[in-house]
Symmetry: C2
Subunit: 326 residues, 2 copies
Amino acid sequence: MIPTSDDSPTLADVRSARVRIADLVRRTPVERSAVLSGKVGADVHLKLECWQPTRSFKVRGATNFVTSLSAAQLAPGLVTASAGNHGLAVALAARAAGTSLTVFLPSSAPRVKRERIRQLGARIEDGFATYDDAETGAMAFAEAQHAVFVHAFADPRVIAGQATVALEVLEDVPDVRSIIVPVGGGGLISGIGRVMKAVAPAVRVIGVQSTMTRAMHAAFAAGRVVDVPVPPTLADGLAGRTDDATFQRARSVVDEMVLVEESDIAEAIRTLFAHDVVTAEGSGAVGVAALLSGRVRPTGTAVVVVTGGNIDATVLAPLLAASTAS
Amino acid sequence: MIPTSDDSPTLADVRSARVRIADLVRRTPVERSAVLSGKVGADVHLKLECWQPTRSFKVRGATNFVTSLSAAQLAPGLVTASAGNHGLAVALAARAAGTSLTVFLPSSAPRVKRERIRQLGARIEDGFATYDDAETGAMAFAEAQHAVFVHAFADPRVIAGQATVALEVLEDVPDVRSIIVPVGGGGLISGIGRVMKAVAPAVRVIGVQSTMTRAMHAAFAAGRVVDVPVPPTLADGLAGRTDDATFQRARSVVDEMVLVEESDIAEAIRTLFAHDVVTAEGSGAVGVAALLSGRVRPTGTAVVVVTGGNIDATVLAPLLAASTAS
């Protein structure tokens, strides 16, 4: 096992993050899923991060980052790049901190994420072909403006914020044996994994990506970060690259990385809607997809993080219509 | 103003209900709606009862009722009649109390409500043409079985449980000037109204029904309970009669009853989904429908209770598809 980077957050960092973010971030419910528990033959619980104020877990890391900045750092306004949900989360945190924000978005960002970013008073720079292009543009802009760039995953303060999910899961499901986590850049699973290895090392940490958003999975397979294409996917929120520091962090705490197909994600969205009465976006449903498709087979109690719920009507309506036709 | 019935719950009853139900019932979030606030020109907040464990506020009253029963009363099992959400709520409370339950349902009850009632281990008696027929059947069955019948609205313990919504709203939105409440039988608005008149009499209490589920509205207009037909409606959860005691309770605390059209409800469901990222059922969306259609025009801060979120894919998919076509 490769040692974690020196600047990875400690358990103490995660605990202070929890206090610092409490005003903007909800302690979301954990619910047992009857349908998934029946399918798997063990208790499966859903951690409903799709019910955060911004409808994704990203508000945890963004808030922890922004509340750590000085007045001088906040003054010129902030800059970020995001597949959508991180931008929305930083927009909420920036408004609460009384500063402005520019969000660089790829064209894959859903309408609902754009609209809610604007509602929170942030400015959008649009039209980038990929998340990676948006990130490159945002970093150049931040440097030119002498503004702080809020990275979506590769920052210890962001990771410490995301890791607070794990503290809540351990309190609410003390017998958890597996935690199943959607993976984009890898900030959430790095944070959750770090807490689990420190506090509950028997918990298996399982990351899930779509075959269309497999940057971290490919890095695990190759032993290093590699370039992978990102075709259109239901899991738009997971689209983009990871980086070497985050890959090393993830590798030291993740037990398994799996891939699901787009059809698995569609079925997971339908199942969550029809049986658990939870509206999830594609990225938020990949963990459930891994269970339903049999790609992950937990032996004891499992918790799946349903990371987000920002899905456009144009995407959900045909998925639900397909289910009602069958 | 007509005096309330002698057995209407007191503020002390509501406060003890809040303590008694705390284990099964969530303190749901209140969120400002940007789109509704813009439409109305005043702050509009959503009380998200659609995120209760059973996806409706009904769990409050049902839990307060069931936890008030003695072991001897619980022993033979419980009986209820419901448009769906109350049955689901009693099913959760009965399971927690370790007793059985039979739920009488009208044929209008959505698939998702039936499935979740069964998941909780309750038995369903089905095929009644209307809620009223189901209630008649359930009461006869309860008498024959010497079992306790858990009425959906006409019971002071149920009303006291529903009224806990008002305590939370007053704490979370202290400047509230109007509260807009979906009305079926009238239990929720009787409870909320009673708290408001006791603690915050400046708050205007506004009830909303669909033109297809207008039993309480018709009683207000006639000054007495009258028979009204209940054609199929998006607001299936509001379908059914009220009774004289509940009408008198409601009349003493409700400032205004309004009706919305089915098309208003459809638009409200679409707006909540697309702009607030909240999936509501038709009954849960009638308050929003009243604001969007201009049938209610609040002058100060308003809170709308989004009472439920149990909507079938077969209902939501065509509604969302219609919005994306426009």
